[in-house]
């Protein structure tokens, strides 16, 4: 009897172990539960705050902090409904046109479509996929920067690799500027989509704003079942949708190449073939890339014109990031042999571009490439950088900003590009050895951005290397470098006398008492831009030295010092007639009355005074 029982028990045990671990059981239970919930009436709307910030292009805060960083956008509001400049919010790195005005800014690409305004983006993951009915953004300071809200069909929290990733625009608009810096809840009317989503992307353009925009939280409202509305809408063909679609981009040239009997219809080009070749080329140069590709399919003559490599000396694929794939690069490849400037920023994520697609394009088109913009390209790996180093011998500009998943080892390949003049490594994991070897071999560097590079251990060493090797340096961005001291700064300014732009924002280890800022002013007579943001030691004598030595100063940021008085500021404003931007936020001696008075006396200068209420 007992044996029988124990055998029976053993069988049970086997079954139990086969039925899977407890963890699996739990998830299956959850699945059952969620299945039950799905049976609920359609009208039940789910409201959720962002669960996680997945990706973003830039932020004001430091990488290992929670002040002014993009991660603050997850969860419920911290500040709303208050308005003001608070640490708990998400803030981008730039605003207005101040950064674009600088010499260090990249040249604008031609053929940017009219509707593309985005400068920054953030991607947010939500707990549960829903059919969105509303998106609400809590903007707590200088609202108006949102230009696009998109939804993705891919679930960022699923384990499976992304396949067939679709992005739909829920809302898009022009950059605006709110009348006041007051907080607002932005909830535009959104388009209904026919897939559930828990991944939103918000794109921003802060160029019209008077100060940094601050965001507090994002709500995604939606229903679990496809709303009937969307079902009805589906079969309708939306004209605007089609005209915007870049699907043709991927089969560009396809219909024409194989057709051998094209010559039979060649006489029908009307008067177009009477026009000089160059004139047609000039006309075509005003078209956006998708239009160019569409036109190529209209007739043989225009096909020839549209495929002329001279039309593709500069190519910005950034506006088309949602649909760019290996295949589309492959189709463009044959036309881009004279390519000089290429913008691949934001493209290729979630498996859209691969090493093989990228390297075959670069092999075909890299020879004359001068400028390569690749910010936030998370498909990049060490092998990709090796390909760039091998295929682009003439490269002068490289932008890898916010490629924060790129392995530190990869950056050593950059040193094989001897003609580099502009290098942007903002928010990357570059390490000290790599930057030192880059500085050793790339001696023509003019613009260098090392902002928020947290892996560099000793910025003083980097600064002295810069002083020794990069004598022609024009701009240097050391935003939030942890440990640059007066020793490094002194060496830097005595070596790089050509410096015009210097960003030393949030470098807390620089002490004015060592005289380093005064020495900076004396050594850099050509200085146009100086950011000493949140250096608490900047004092009157520094400002007076700047006034005396740097007459061409245009942008100055001395946010957060208690030691600067109105008198020295007035002196500065008088002796720097070209001054355009002066940020004196949180300078305790400069109250709003002083700012108003100075603004009245110097109307050409934008004097910024942020507030926290």
């Amino acid at each position: 009897m007992l044996t029988l029982l124990s055998m029976f028990y053993y069988i049970c045990l086997r079954r139990r172990s086969r039925s899977g671990t407890r963890g699996e059981a739990l998830t299956s239970r959850r699945a059952v539960e969620s299945g039950q919930r799905a049976v609920l009436p359609v009208s039940v709307e789910v409201e959720q705050y962002a669960k996680e910030v997945l990706d973003f292009s830039s932020h004001y805060g430091s990488e290992n902090s929670m002040s002014y960083t993009m991660w603050n956008l997850a969860g419920s509001p911290n500040v709303y409904p208050s308005s003001g400049d608070f640490t708990q919010t998400a803030v981008f790195r730039a605003y207005g046109t101040w950064w674009e005005q600088c010499a260090s800014a990249p040249q604008r690409f031609r053929r940017i479509p009219n509707g593309f305004h985005s400068q920054d983006y953030i991607e947010l993951g939500f707990e549960e996929p829903v059919y969105p009915t509303a998106v609400e953004v809590f903007e707590t300071y200088y609202p108006g920067a949102i230009v696009q809200i998109m939804a993705c069909s891919h679930n960022p929290f699923s384990q499976s690799p992304p396949t067939d990733v679709r992005w739909e625009v829920l809302w898009s608009g022009e950059p605006t500027k709110a009348l006041t810096p007051q907080a607002r809840q932005f909830s535009p009317k959104i388009k209904h989509i026919n897939f559930p989503t828990n991944l939103l992307r918000l794109e921003f353009n802060s160029s019209l704003l008077d100060y940094y925009t601050e965001l507090d939280a994002v709500i995604l409202r939606g229903v679990k079942d496809m709303p009937m509305l969307a079902l009805y809408k589906m079969p309708l063909i939306d004209i605007s949708d089609l005209s915007d679609s870049e699907e043709e981009l991927s089969d560009v040239g396809g219909p024409f190449r194989p057709r051998g009997d094209g010559r039979h219809q060649s006489t029908g080009s009307g008067y177009f073939d009477k026009l000089p070749y160059e004139l047609i080329q000039l006309i075509l140069s005003h078209l956006t890339l998708p239009d160019l590709c569409r036109l190529a399919q209209s007739c043989r003559l225009l096909h020839q014109h549209c495929c002329d490599p001279l039309q593709y000396t500069q190519l910005s694929l950034q506006p088309y990031w949602p649909r760019l794939s290996d295949a589309s690069l492959g189709h463009l490849q044959s036309r881009c042999t004279l390519l000089q400037r290429l913008n691949l920023s934001w493209t290729g994520n979630r498996g859209a571009l691969t090493l093989s697609g990228f390297s075959s394009f670069m092999k075909a088109c890299g020879l004359s490439l001068v400028c390569l913009e690749m910010s936030c390209c998370h498909f990049l790996n060490e092998a990709c950088l090796e390909v760039i180093a091998q295929t682009c011998p003439a490269l002068q500009e490289l932008n890898l900003s916010s490629c924060d998943r790129l392995h530190p080892q990869a950056f050593t390949h950059i040193s094989k590009l001897p003609h580099l003049r502009r290098l942007v490594l903002y928010r990357t994991k570059i390490e000290q050895t790599a930057i030192l070897s880059i500085l050793t071999f790339c001696t023509e560097l003019k613009h260098l951005n090392l902002g928020s590079c947290v892996r560099i251990e000793d910025y003083d060493v980097v600064a002295s290397m810069l002083a020794a090797r990069s004598r022609s340096l024009r701009s240097l961005d050391m935003w939030r470098c942890r440990n640059l001291t007066d020793r490094g700064l002194t060496e830097l300014v005595s070596g790089c006398r050509m410096l015009e732009e210097l960003d030393l924002g949030w470098c807390p280890t620089l002490q004015s008492s060592t005289g380093c800022f005064q020495q900076l002013a004396r050594n850099l007579p050509r200085l146009r831009k100086l950011f000493l943001t949140a250096n608490r030691t900047v004092c009157d004598s520094d400002i007076e030295e700047l006034a005396a030595c740097c007459p061409s100063l245009q942008h100055l940021d001395i946010l957060g010092t208690r030691l600067v008085s109105a008198g020295s500021l007035k002196k500065l404003l008088q002796s720097c007639p070209g001054l355009l931007l002066l940020d004196v936020s949180f300078c305790s001696q400069i109250d709003i009355r002083v700012v108003q008075e100075l603004s009245g006396l110097f109307p050409n200068v934008a004097i910024k005074k942020s507030f926290t209420q």
Binding site: Y9, L26, S65, R536, R562
Partner: protein, 351 residues
Amino acid sequence: MVVNGQTPVCTRSFVSGDNMSVRREPSGTGRAEPNGRIKADSQTGLYPETRRQGMLSVLSYGRLVARAVLGGLSQTDGRDYSLITASYGFGKDFRKGILKKGMCYGDDACFIARNRTADVLGVADGVGGWRDYGVDPSQFSATLMRTCERLVKEGRFTPSNPVGILTSGYYELLQNKVPLLGSSTACIVVLDRRSHRLHTCNLGDSGFLVVRGGEVVHRSDEQQHYFNTPFQLSIAPPGAEGVVLSDSPEAADSSSFDVQLGDIILTATDGLFDNMPDYMILQELKKLKTTNYDSILQTAQSIAKQAHDLAYDPNYMSPFAQFACDNGLNVRGGKPDDITVLLSIVAEYTD
């Protein structure tokens, strides 16, 4: 509660083995938290235990013993603990019991926060001397506490490392655009729900008591540089770095302690400890009978009130006055100061 959830597992397995796996899941996990604790229990300890019992003894006995074993186990470490906390305090200038902005009493600040894994409390006492430099001392302590609260709420901490909370809280103060000045003592108490351990850190003369059965079983150590000058976190104005006392957050005294259900934890600033000796505090705590929030708040109120009254009694020989006399100063009476009291009871965790 766990017992109820667990026992059907073994009983059903005896009775109807076949559909056990189907029926077991909802009953076994239905009332448990989705946190893996059940998993650990059932897979490592409990299940083999019951099996052995079942095979060795007669059926019914086995069931009974299994139940007892299960019950015993869950009694000791099955349940999660949490803190029920009430706060009360007084600002020095008779701004009685009113929170200024956030949780502030005068220059004192405090926070009560909870996270998935832990309950965290903190008090900070802004050093009043900064008022002479035109700096509001409460700004520093309040910002420090608010920052720590955010760190906890966003899960940017490990319960076993309260010094870490203080360190990153202090670091975040430096990341503020506002050029903060000031200094503050700080005390942070973390209860790890699962392990039932109380992790604490204390910098300066604020502190906490753990009271069990009417006796103090664990307490913080006071850290002072010299009389009436506690250890303190500070941000000094430029040029005065060497002059202003500034201790690193790592200098905080940290400890860990196992708590039991019903333990009382009193966390307070020096305004309380300087005016009320232990025996008076214990006397007040004896009145606390139930674990509901209102009665805790009431007790916290009466403790804070009593300390407040004593602080303004010129003839009372307060612990502070006693300590002053030990240091060769002839002082009598209470010590008027901001008083912040956080009173917590260790209770079973409920959602």
